[in-house]
């Protein structure tokens, strides 16, 4: 029996010729990631277990992004604990205020992940790096502690669902619309414990930022990881920031899948997920007039340059609707600087938006745009659970940057005019 891309990467990292779904393996890690929320718990476990050294100071990335710049005294204490741990163990890839960005935008941008690698992160959206042809998955803090100490993690080899993308996408449709469409199709546990493997001629339509967005939300379908077939678009992106050579794995022709979905990109329309689950999807055209109080454009899902470019294109020369607060958060310092150089920041400010330094902030209801009771937000983020962005009586609609920007101008959920 053939293997999927994910199974091949797992086999290569536990020294086996082949692995089978359901098999438990102990695998060697190429990178372990933690943030300012999950790392303190990992440090406590690491120290409680009596470890004194990390397995490899170059294979750990710690990013202060969730509640940083520090939102309050307790957040400051947590970042301080991470900072001291990073200094003590001489962690190479420690990112603090001034160089940090939202972790899953930052690591690919900085060239810390490449095709064929095995990556864990104590953050559920670690599945993002599958866009580059890596096996990457979210774990908890104890797994991070073990990874930092021994460079290993245990896995149950997953089955996979295959998504074959065909055709050309419509104007203003992005990776976000496609992944929301897919989550609407299979549900929030539709890929539970499994890999979501993306391939097909439709990949040519998707830039890396679209793919990062789609792999990012694989967890929203319950998946263990999302992974894209590696093509020239991937290899060009990796070469521009090459720190390590990629290893390209292809799924075998006779690899087994629990299901295969053919996705016609031309059939995907601007799509939103209604409160309070990412599977509650509708096209914008199916919605009535849904009035909004706030718009957030940013996050590990949609805070990259392509996202900012679309938002700037729509907002440029226009004014935000009265009564709507628009918060734009470029995900990294580099994206922020590119927005400055390309004039996007001026476009945003002239339109009446506020632009923030990189942070996860409002996405998880941390700070920088918390909602009051009864308020409604269109966000390019990834979750719309009860209370996710603030009061339990508030609502989050998940959308693409194009829909978020168009909605900012009309004051209700809208797609850009063709």
């Amino acid at each position: 029996m053939g293997m999927t891309m994910s199974q091949k990467i797992l086999a290569a990292h536990c020294g086996l010729e082949s692995v089978k779904p359901g098999q438990l393996i102990m695998a060697d890690l190429d990178l372990c990631l933690g943030n300012d929320i999950t790392t303190p718990v990992a440090i406590n476990e690491f120290e409680k277990a009596g470890f004194s050294e990390v397995f490899n100071k170059d294979k750990i990335a710690l990013v202060m992004d969730h509640f940083a710049p520090n939102k309050d005294i307790k957040a400051a204490e947590q970042c301080k604990q991470c900072r001291q741990f990073a200094a003590k163990h001489n962690i190479t890839h420690y990112y603090d205020v001034g160089c940090m960005g939202v972790e899953h935008a930052l690591l690919p941008e900085q060239g810390l992940v490449t095709a064929g690698q095995l990556v864990i992160g104590a953050d559920s959206h670690t599945c993002t790096y599958g866009a580059l042809g890596a096996f990457s998955t979210g774990v908890g803090s104890t797994d991070l502690a073990a990874g930092m100490a021994r460079g290993k993690a245990w896995f149950k080899v997953p089955e996979a669902i295959k998504f074959v993308l065909h055709g050309k996408k419509n104007p203003w449709v992005s990776g976000k619309d496609i992944i929301l469409h897919i989550i609407g199709l299979i549900g929030v546990d539709g890929a539970l414990y499994q890999s979501m493997e993306f391939s097909g001629d439709g990949l040519a339509e998707l830039g890396i930022d679209d793919r990062l967005c789609m792999a990012n939300m694989a967890i929203e379908a319950g998946a263990k990881n999302g992974i894209f077939a590696v093509d020239d678009i991937t290899l060009t992106y990796l070469k521009e920031r090459e720190k390590m050579l990629p290893t390209v794995y292809q799924a075998d022709d006779d690899a087994e899948y629990t299901a295969v979905y053919e996705i016609d990109l031309a059939a995907v329309q601007p799509t939103v997920a209604l409160p309070h689950l990412p599977e509650n999807t509708k096209t914008v055209a199916e919605l009535g007039e849904v009035k909004i109080d706030q718009v957030v454009i940013g996050s590990c899902t949609n805070g990259r340059l392509a996202d900012m470019a679309v938002a700037a294109q729509i907002l440029r020369g226009h004014k935000v609707a009265p009564g709507v607060r628009v918060i734009i958060i470029p995900a990294t310092q580099q994206v922020y600087k590119q927005c400055l150089e390309l004039g996007y920041l001026a476009d945003f400010i002239d339109a009446g938006c506020v632009v923030s330094t990189p942070t996860c902030g409002p996405c998880l209801g941390g700070y920088m745009g918390i909602l009051a009771d009864g308020e409604r937000c269109v966000a390019t983020t990834n979750r719309n659970f009860v209370g996710r962005m603030g009061h339990i009586g508030s609502e989050v609609y998940l959308a693409s940057p194009a829909v978020a920007a168009a909605s900012a101008l009309t004051g209700y959920i809208s797609a850009p005019k063709a």
Partner: protein
């Protein structure tokens, strides 16, 4: 190992944001986290829960974020076991890693709020003492049993 207690019942897709809202993730203190467990869907839970009680959910329990604070908050609130029809995978992993027993059970919807359960982890049986019913579950695979027997993942790796 045996666990015995009364049931706190929830529905499908109980996410980690309602188990422990992100606004409280500025601490890793177990008791502080426990004080806010489930508050966004069940404000009285922390007043009601007694040591040994059992939490029961539907499909996809623990979906969402990877925060280990979620099983930590549940365990520190006094809950001795979580039973659900299915679990989100990171939550499942984290629960084992922090030593919170967790059982997948197809009959979870037969269990009602307030039922008294006795769970035998060795044979994977759940006895509903209120309804006089018994439900079978899959015992943990040997690999997981070894992690639990060593007292958690880190001790397992050190050994």
């Amino acid at each position: 190992m045996i666990s015995k207690g009364f049931v706190h019942k929830y529905g499908d897709n109980i996410d980690t944001d309602v188990i422990i809202p992100a606004r409280y993730l500025n601490t890793a203190n177990h008791q502080e986290l426990a004080a806010h467990c489930m508050e966004d869907i069940d404000k009285q839970f922390v007043q009601r829960v007694q040591a040994g009680d059992i939490m029961v959910g539907g499909f996809n329990f623990g979906c969402g974020s990877s925060r280990e604070h979620a099983p930590i908050a549940i365990k520190a609130s006094g809950i001795s076991c979580v039973i659900a029809k299915s679990f989100a995978r990171i939550f499942y992993r984290n629960s084992i890693n922090v030593g919170l027993p967790i059982l997948e059970c197809a009959d979870a919807d037969k269990i009602a709020v307030g039922d008294e359960l006795e769970i035998n982890f060795d044979c994977g049986e759940i006895h509903n003492l209120t309804k006089n019913e018994t439900y079978k579950t899959e015992p943990f695979p040997e690999f997981i049993q070894n992690i639990i027997a060593k007292g958690g993942l880190l001790d397992f790796l050190k050994s």
